[in-house]
Symmetry: C2
Subunit: 335 residues, 2 copies
């Protein structure tokens, strides 16, 4: 049997993309239509750079999948999926300014290609456009969910700003940051799909819980890969969080068990920012020896299991299994 | 008669503040309540710096006045007024990042006191909070108006970015920028006050037109004062727009009538940014001699008159006269 005959197992997000191809095509048309600006050509230039860069479009697919599983037959889910992607793109533009990033999805960031000003203002424009799109669905509850998610995102980002370089950051603060930067939009993306379908309350709640747990599992896995992945896997360099003095879950767990000597090390490299040759290797050793990496890994699996469990109250549907597989997939990267 | 006995004539915005004192107190309570963040103390710190700096609160007063004139007796106008002030504050935070400003309302800006990151993210937070507040009013039409205003604001800001340092900027582009940076929120602030009061369509339209024209008159006057005011009047230095190579209405009018030699001057100082001693004085002379300043002044008065005219269809109410006086006042500064 040669490689051509071998069935390459699809990743769950590829299954989702296949199953939702028609809807996603409509979402992409709407995105291109609405990112235009009659008056300011800079807007579609900047947005196209990011939108066309080939992100996974995972968040809009969650909205579409939730609507489908709940038996929705209308077309507002297309608008909501585009809304969710616009909010996501707006936060990426602002994140790159805040993080002073120069690379995103393997390409130079908008703030590098144009300037910080354009990234801030085009982000604001996309956020306003997302807001217009959701108003068009005429459903106040959807607006409420997405307004709350937006506030949680911004709050989490500010919290991350003040929590960085601070070893007092504990697991509760970390969880709040993770909900802001990742889980809030995952949860809202799922929830609005169920709401627009008029699903019963227990299903709406289940979708919220699924998205929330999936987002948390995803972000913990991402933070772990920063210490244990490969550059190809994470699209950036190993140890970037360490160098940027970001306090993530493995470190929080390691610091909680640190000896006075180890604590002095963490204080020097993270709080004082005095990093020397060999420090990253030493940090990796401490993260392993104190069980910080393993404990964080265990926690990611707990959240993936919560995500799968949340799906059990939902109606039987092929996409339900795909979402369950997706929860497995996000943590399979750290297995 | 000594100074104590002499009645000091109130400015119209002081009349508004007196007439709406009870409502404004409720708006201020709501603003302080909603700018809080359980999780991220940086947020109220940054916001308080700006919100408590004693801005004129003109935009929320427009919302309250419109609701009152239309006979509103509920309390959603308080939420909408706070919404409008939050949107305004969010745009100020982002503007200061974009303009790299160091002073606002006579105090150091948030981006200087904290950093650009905090200004971007706290701006996002306030924008999300404004969105939550307006959702609470449960009125889709209000959401539609404010979503559209937000998009116009962001679009105008991006347009300003690309129009700066470009002598091809014409009056149509200038008007679009001015609508974005000032008039869109003035118009929306007025319009939502009338909508929440359930006013008939012609009154809603009248309030939109009043706010739009007032905002345009206000911004043209501001741009004129940059060349003809005093530092005390404008809270910054004369000629800042010139030094920042911003193309505003007096210059657009002057460039349209420029001789080839004058055009070369504008190209050098604005497009090439090669500014030398005496250039500002020469620019002022050209703005005067070509009639650019006078033509811009005339246009500001035309917009103020449009604002006053828009009010004529409204019901008789003491605040209607105050709004009319306000239109006179914004251009009286350039008389």
């Amino acid at each position: 049997m040669n490689a051509m005959d071998k069935k390459v197992p699809l990743r769950p997000q590829d299954d989702l993309a296949d199953a939702l191809a028609g809807d996603m095509a409509a979402v992409n048309v709407l995105i291109r239509e609405r990112m235009a600006s009659k008056h300011a050509p800079r807007i579609p230039e900047v947005t196209a750079h990011l939108v066309e860069a080939g992100g996974k479009r995972l968040r809009p697919m969650l909205t579409l999948a939730a609507a489908r599983i709940c038996g929705y037959t209308g077309d507002h889910h297309i608008k909501l999926a585009a809304t969710v992607e616009f909010i996501h793109t707006a936060t990426l533009l602002h994140d790159d300014v805040v993080d002073e990033s120069s690379q995103r999805r393997g390409r130079p960031t908008a703030n590098l290609l144009w300037d910080n000003k354009s990234s801030v203002l085009v982000g604001d424009y996309l956020f306003s456009r997302s807001f217009q799109l959701m108003v068009e669905t005429g459903t106040l509850r959807v607006l409420d969910i997405l307004a709350n998610a937006s506030a949680t995102i911004a709050e989490g980002e500010v919290l991350q700003l003040t929590a960085a370089q601070d070893l007092k950051t504990d697991e509760a603060i970390y969880l709040q940051v993770v909900r802001g930067k990742t889980a809030a939009l995952f949860a809202a993306a799922c929830e609005v799909g169920a709401v627009i379908a008029g699903a019963p309350e227990d299903q709406v709640r289940a979708f919220y819980n699924y998205g929330d747990a999936l987002g948390i599992a995803f972000q913990i896995a991402d933070d772990l890969l920063d210490y244990s992945g490969t550059s190809a896997q994470i699209g950036k360099n190993i140890g970037d969080d360490f160098r940027e003095r970001k306090v993530t879950l493995p470190m929080i767990k390691a610091v909680a068990k640190a000896t006075p000597e180890q604590r002095a090390f963490w204080t020097r490299v993270i709080e004082k920012g005095d990093q020397r040759d060999g420090d990253l290797d030493h940090a990796m050793m401490l993260l392993t020896e104190t069980g910080g990496l393993q404990a964080a890994r265990d926690e990611a699996f707990v959240w993936a299991e919560k995500a799968r469990q949340a799906l059990t109250v939902l109606p039987d549907h092929p996409l339900r299994q795909t979402l369950s597989d997706l929860a497995d997939y996000v943590v399979s990267r750290i297995n």
